[in-house]
Symmetry: C2
Subunit: 119 residues, 2 copies
Amino acid sequence: MSLSPELSARLKRNADGLIAAVVVDHATSDVLMMAWMNDDALEATLTTRRGTYWSRSRQELWVKGETSGHVQHVREVRIDCDGDTVLLRVDQTGPACHTGTRTCFDTDERLLLAEEGAR
Amino acid sequence: MSLSPELSARLKRNADGLIAAVVVDHATSDVLMMAWMNDDALEATLTTRRGTYWSRSRQELWVKGETSGHVQHVREVRIDCDGDTVLLRVDQTGPACHTGTRTCFDTDERLLLAEEGAR
């Protein structure tokens, strides 16, 4: 399988051939993680509804949760105005972050700027 | 002003010296847009609470809404587990997208995969 020529033509890939993928929890609307996709990862995500990405460190296709069990069932995929980012709404099994937190943005030390008036 | 050495050391910049910025509407939790930041953009965002990015096309610092008036007041900034993405919660004035839509992911033609059972 490969992407349709129509969709392929809409993608604005970076120098490494990748687009960004922002992943949101369908139930809570919390942003869970940011990852990267090449054409094959996007095609796999669209056809299997399993969150599938490109691992820049391992340089391979990466089905999220394949080893951890923390899979993502993809409810919806949208592309942005200039074609370099997709937005996924998913049902996340277990924590989304490889550190074990629910999202990749949790924990106090990941807070850089708190709301005014908040402690 | 420049970033604190401690924060600077946590950033995992790409080959162009940039990190990704995911921007969420504080009121609705909708993802509004994806943009890029260099160190100066992050520092400006943290100190002024105005959403400030790096324009890759114009190769310059870009205070969102400076010309359109569609500014962002930044409520909260978080960084992710591996330091290459920040998550902003903002109060968005006007549409976030330069095409005039509320978010960069709105409109029917930006929907790539609809929810099962949906039209």
